[in-house]
């Protein structure tokens, strides 16, 4: 009876295997089909940026097939990359983003170290508070910050509004909480024996941090750096509110406000500017994709 049952199970299982692999092949084909559709949806705007950036104004206003370049030209790129104004935006964006990354790291690494390793009064509350701060959006704070900067400027006489360097103090509010949060996760995952050994060997807290924690948690550090850089590079609301003069603008605001002159939209140049503005994050992403994705998922999975 039992052998009969086993005999029966044999062939039917074989058939099932065959259909499963066929199913899988079909599933793969369908997956590719839908992925191509979604890839078209996801990649249309950046590709269209590139197409338009290679067109001359004459070709754009001639309203030929918008998806094809008939007379490719680099004149938009040449014009923007030789324009002092655009280079100024690029320079402002770069200096702001780089300095903000440095400030962010200087604040969040020591703080994350203390919160991950030194239990002190209120450390758990502070860690939670850091996470909550990350959830406070920029659109809630821009009005009070604008007013605060105005008040401080009136009191001290230091120009704060309409100066790019004020962004150096404002952007860390966006980057520090998240960077601290993911660095806490990375530091907490380092085995305790490692820093205990360092302490026994007579290392100070600072040495433990610089000799043990930073090298071991380097992937997390890179992820946090990428995050801080891309956030500061992309930030739009704060510079739009706090800076107005053309020479103080950063790239996103500069492109949206100066390249659109009245009702005349020079789309070739706007798309070129947007593409050049998107280039630094895209290049970083292309080379450090794994770190980028690690940073992205760390917020929810490292908690």
């Amino acid at each position: 009876m039992s052998t009969f049952a086993i005999d029966k199970a044999g062939p039917s299982r074989k058939v099932k295997y065959g259909s499963m692999s066929r199913d899988r092949a079909w599933a793969l084909r369908w997956s590719y089909f839908f992925l191509v559709l979604f890839a078209i949806f996801f990649l249309t705007p950046p590709i269209y940026m590139l197409i338009t950036s290679l067109k001359s104004s004459a070709e754009i206003s001639a309203a030929t097939n918008p998806w094809w370049v008939f007379h490719p030209t680099l004149s938009n790129y040449v014009e923007l990359l030789t324009s002092n104004q655009f280079l100024r935006f690029f320079w402002n964006s770069s200096i702001v983003s780089i300095v903000v990354v440095i400030i962010t790291m200087l604040i969040s690494i020591p703080a994350a170290f203390a919160l991950a390793r030194m239990k002190f009064w209120g450390s758990a509350t502070l860690a939670t508070g850091v996470f909550l701060t990350y959830l406070i959006p920029d659109s809630l704070l821009f009005i009070p910050l604008f007013k605060m900067l105005g008040v401080v400027q009136d009191y001290t006489g230091i120009m704060l509004l309409n100066r790019w360097y004020v962004l150096l103090f404002i952007y860390p509010t966006l980057t520090v909480p998240f960077c601290t949060w993911i660095m806490i996760g990375y530091f907490a995952s380092i085995p305790k024996e490692l820093d205990e050994a360092a302490l026994i060997d007579g290392a100070s807290w600072l040495q433990t941090l610089t000799r043990i924690f930073i090298p071991v948690a380097l992937p997390g550090l890179i992820a946090a750096t990428i995050f801080a850089f891309t956030v500061s590079w992309a930030q739009f609301l704060y510079p739009l509110v706090f800076t107005t003069s053309v020479d103080q603008l950063v790239l996103p605001v500069g492109i949206t406000t100066t390249l659109i002159k009245g009702d005349v939209f020079n789309w070739g140049q706007i798309m070129t500017g947007a593409l050049l503005g998107a280039a630094p994050p895209l290049i970083i992403y292309a080379f450090l994709m794994d770190y980028y994705i690690a940073g992205l998922t760390a917020g929810a999975t490292k908690g």
Partner: protein, 312 residues
């Protein structure tokens, strides 16, 4: 004898420390070091996040010239304005619809990417995340150009199918549609990546067990995938709800709130009222209306995150 020596040494050290400057003593203590290390963080959050948040509460109770305390009359003034209720409605429509579509698309595409084997998967994942990497202000410009009233590339393509020119940003319905579309385009890759990471963490044995029990693909998703991913789905959705609700860039660049203020969100309307019309108290008041929904979402996120922490 040896014991005594050790004992004496300890006493000597203890008295030496007591004699030494008390400042160094305090500095050497662990809690002091920890406090000093976190001090910049505390200052930053206190001065540039918490203080402005409460300052905004105070600002909301002033009159337009910010000379007089007017209590809650800014709030009652808003309640009487039709535009305000439209903004509330539009913000909710926008945030809820966009988050649902982002989550759905992210979930579906994550499954497709998950099906792809090995090295190719990396390439697809890399390609599909591009919208999230481009700064939203830049990519929205591309969308603005795609939606252009006279040169719209979409309308050009649609005209071949006999579909008439669509006023992408000119009519209320289409403008709302376009804004949601752009937001879904920008945010879906984030869901995709999160869900993909979650899918990878579901053990294969569970699917094998389900297959042996005779589960079909739908039952596998419903009884295996979804329960295993529940936490990630909850956190990602709530987080995205906050970000979407507070969105500024997309609406500002695409429509600036038009046509006739029908696409304004809290953030863009607060900007228009508070900065462009320089009625700072009213603007602060408008943006404060985001707080309740943000607070609710934040509480739920925090609950999930601490739950995860306890599980681990």
């Amino acid at each position: 004898m040896a014991d005594v020596v050790v004992e004496r040494g300890r006493i000597a050290r203890a008295t030496g420390a007591r004699k030494g400057s008390s400042l160094r003593n305090v500095l050497g203590r662990k809690s002091t070091v920890a406090f000093l290390l976190t001090l910049p963080l505390i200052l930053l959050i206190g001065l540039l996040v918490l203080y402005p948040a409460f300052f905004s509460l105070y600002l909301a109770t002033l009159n337009k010239a910010m000379t007089k305390f007017v209590g809650l009359s800014n709030f009652t003034f808003l309640f009487k304005r039709e535009t305000f209720w439209m903004v509330v409605k539009q913000s909710c429509i926008f945030a809820i619809t966009a988050v649902i579509f982002k989550a759905l698309i992210g979930f579906i595409v994550a499954h497709f990417v998950h099906n792809i084997p090995g090295k190719k998967q990396r390439k697809w994942r890399g390609m599909l995340l591009v919208p999230w990497v481009i700064p939203p202000a830049m990519s929205t410009l591309a969308w603005l150009w795609l939606f252009d009233p006279s040169y719209s590339a979409f309308n050009y393509t649609l005209s071949f199918f006999g579909v008439g020119p669509i006023p992408w940003l000119g009519e209320t319905f289409w403008a709302r549609f376009s804004i949601i579309l752009v937001n879904v385009w920008y945010g879906a890759p984030f869901f995709l990546i999160m869900y993909l990471a979650a899918l990878k963490s579901v053990p294969d044995q569970l699917y094998e067990a389900a297959a042996i029990d005779g589960a079909n693909w739908w039952q596998k998703i419903w009884y295996v995938t979804l329960p295993m991913m529940r936490n990630i789905i909850a956190i990602t959705t709530l987080f995205s709800l906050i970000v979407t609700f507070a969105n500024f860039d997309i609406v500002r660049i695409l429509t600036s709130g038009g046509p006739l203020d029908t696409t304004h969100l809290f953030a863009t309307w607060a900007f228009q009222v508070g900065i462009q019309s320089s009625d700072i108290p009213l603007g602060a008041c408008v943006s404060l209306f985001m707080v309740p929904i943000l607070a609710v979402a934040a509480i739920f996120i925090l609950r999930d995150v601490t739950k995860r922490g306890n599980e681990a």
